[in-house]
Amino acid sequence: MSNQDETIVAAVDIGTTKVVTVIAEIRGKQINVIGVGEEENNGSQQGTISNISEAARAVKASVEKAQKIAGKDIEVNNVIASVGGKHLTGIKSHGVTTLTLSREKEITQADKDRAIESAKSMPLPADREILHVIPTQYIIDGQDEIMDPLGMSGVRIETDVYIVTGATTLVENVRKTIKMAGYEMDDIYIQPIGSGNATLYEDEKELGVLLIDIGGGTTDIALYHKNALKFIKIIPVGGKYITGDLVPALQTSKSITEEIKKQYGLLYEEDAGEEIIEVPDRTRTSTRPMFRKDLAPYIKYRIYELFDMVKKELKNEGIDKSLYGAGIVLTGGGAKLNGLLRFVQENMGGSVRIGVPLQEKVTGRYEVIDKPQYSTVVGIIDYFVREHGKNERLISSSGGFLTKTSDKIKKFLSEFF
């Protein structure tokens, strides 16, 4: 493969507390990270953009930081972006079609598309748009659990899909933000799909795995089973609230509280022993001592509450442990909280691990993005590269923003298929 086959992709994950950009070279399906940028974002709340110009500023700054690291000759015009927030919901749908009377009765892409179209033709409120249509299985003449029916024979083709929709205005706000920052948006993916793609092994997805992505403003739950996304739920509680819980307790500024949380925050008192930490006052002119262990109860009540919500959401949906036999993967910035792994193990049982972007997917600056807070951004690149074209959403229908980079990728990918 020559260098000309390399494509540059820039992905922007607009989170509640920060915007993270990763610039990567795509070689084969390998993501070679060449630049990472991070910028504080004050333009989002609970996962959705509340101030476009501030969010756009953060996007621009974050992309430029990543560009600086990637090198001067890297130009970013097009980006792919993430969308998050409570407005994202998923529903199951079912589509049916019969094969056209072709001679061989062999299933073609057109047949597949028709089945998907049929599944998509459900009443959708005017203020919502479809973001992802994920086939969970195909059923051909009654035979189920078929993942790829292309080339198979049959008469009647059915499909079960999981459709993720979002509030049109909020999705539009992401587009506007990217545009205001000066970039073209090639595609948009929901955050839990990103983080799931980056952190989960294929066999986990096959066996069933529950992903819990604790971000700044939201906690996203995603269930993968039999290699397909089966359920997502966004709970509007994130790490930002933990900081908020500590502010009145520590009586210092938000930014100092955030630092203390990151450095010393913990869930189990005994993990701190008698360690004494110094809490600076608002002006950082003096400090006062406190036992580190005293931070624990202020944090743990929020975590208890959050995981009660997680468990209830799963129960509501009828999801039990048998559906996530491979266990639970915790990711997102909040996953770094000291004691969380133990808490989830004790509280929800089964095997629990912290998810970071999988090394097998990434080359280049892996050591930089080897952290839970980069799961989403790496994941959307991975999704863009691997699943492009498989995401059955009609990209062109939402304004024809399919542009240069993705065309290149498409062309380049087509060589493999």
């Binding site: 009145p248 307790a249 001592p289 005293d294 208890y304 009660d308």
Partner: protein
């Protein structure tokens, strides 16, 4: 669409009178009816005033929207002669009448003197009726002078306070004894009593205004309800100030209420603070500072401010502090001793404590867990639309708050 319009108006800082919340103030017994009478004479607006007594003669003298003579059979139109049992029976006798008069109220405020007959005996029954109708119920009780106290009267005060506290969402105590400390010896008793009533009226006015006026940062009935519901010992104060530092001074005036002692904000569970006036940027800044200062306490703080153009230089603040510990109210300086010697509150609380068995760590943990679980369910069922989610979990859930380590 209606809602949209409403929000638009709010943005323009216009004030709308809302008449959806109906408050009924119920004076019980001689003392309570006197307060009602004063309220009528001082034209208390936006509330319905109801006087309840067994004594027909004294009831005749009262000027109020509604009057209920209870216990025609038991008390035969006379007073209850300092026997709460008689008053209790009287109220029970006319339960239906009382229920009918309270119907339709969103909130009932009971005003009664404790230590006599009717207030002490009928008060808890009326509170029970109101609560039974799912009406938010507050009680302002006036407790007697120390001189008046003998063993019997102390017992009545103690028992009626405890029983009332049990039945209302929130109770505010105003000891008459404070009058002795606050007025010079040659002040007429009439004037002194009137002063107590004025404090009560100011508070009621503040409360009504807080609920009915739509502010820029608005406090409405739902907030007040949340602050009061099942909160027990409470404090309410109104303070005014003008000139430099007016926001801060008004705030402090509200807290240093002459009759109720200083509430210890650190022990409060919920604080609602509403400012009225022609607010300036400086005032808002000052309020922000106060907010920061008091959010440090382990309480939920709800701030509101309403621009009232015609108030000139003056700023008024209404405070509602609820969920205080039994011993959280302390007098000012040297007067605290006298207040503490006056025993009803202290005695009632001591009794409470001794009867409560030590909670084991496991029971506490279990209680905490189920409280948190309940909170999680509530948020989830409300589709996480409730703004309370941003408030620290430990602040929102009473039992969590009580089991936190004290940070220096």
């Amino acid at each position: 669409m209606g809602k949209m319009k409403f929000e638009l108006v709010e943005e323009q800082n216009t004030i709308i009178d809302s008449s959806d919340t109906l408050i009924k103030v119920v004076g019980i017994g001689g003392c309570g009816c006197n307060v009602i009478n004063d309220m009528c004479q001082m034209t208390m607006r936006d509330v319905e005033l109801i006087a309840i007594n067994t004594d027909s003669q004294s009831l005749n003298k009262i000027d109020s929207h509604e009057k209920i003579q209870i216990g025609k059979k038991v008390a035969k139109g006379r007073g209850t002669g300092n026997t709460p049992e008689k008053a209790q029976k009287s109220a029970e006798e006319d339960r239906n009448i009382i229920e009918n008069k309270l119907r339709g109220a969103d909130m009932v405020v009971l005003v009664a003197g404790l230590g006599g007959g009717t207030g002490s005996g009928a008060g808890p029954v009326i509170a029970d009726i109101a609560r039974g109708m799912d009406i938010l119920t507050a009680a302002f009780v006036i407790t007697p002078f120390n001189v008046e106290l003998n063993e019997e009267k102390s017992r009545i005060v103690r028992e009626s306070y405890a029983s009332l506290k049990d039945k209302v969402d929130m109770i505010v105590d105003i000891p008459n004894e404070k009058i002795l400390e606050l007025f010079t010896e040659d002040t007429g008793m009439d004037e002194a009593y009137k002063a107590v009533n004025i404090v009560l009226i100011d508070i009621m006015r503040g409360l009504v205004k807080m609920i009915s006026k739509t502010g820029i940062q608005n406090i409405d009935f739902a907030d007040v309800k949340r602050a009061m519901k099942g909160k027990g010992n409470s404090f309410m104060g109104v303070g005014k100030a003008s000139g430099a530092n007016r926001a801060k001074t008004a705030f402090e005036n509200a807290i240093k209420n002459r009759f109720m002692g200083n509430p210890n904000l650190n022990d409060a569970n919920f604080i609602v603070i509403n400012f009225f006036g022609n607010m300036s940027v400086g005032d808002i800044k000052a309020i922000e500072e106060l907010k920061l200062k008091y959010t440090g306490a382990g309480a939920m703080v709800k701030f509101g401010h309403t621009n009232v153009a015609d108030m000139g230089d003056e700023i008024e603040v209404t405070m509602l502090i609820s969920g205080l510990h039994d011993d959280a109210l302390s007098g000012q300086g040297g007067t605290s001793e006298a207040y503490n010697q006056f025993t009803p509150l202290a005695a009632a609380s001591k009794k409470d404590e001794s009867s409560k068995p030590e909670e084991s760590k496991e029971t506490v943990d279990k209680e905490i867990q189920s409280a948190i679980e309940k909170s999680a369910t509530d948020f989830m069922e409300g589709n996480y639309e409730n703004e309370g989610l941003a408030i620290p979990t430990w602040q929102r859930i009473d039992i969590c708050r009580r089991h936190l380590p004290k940070l220096n």
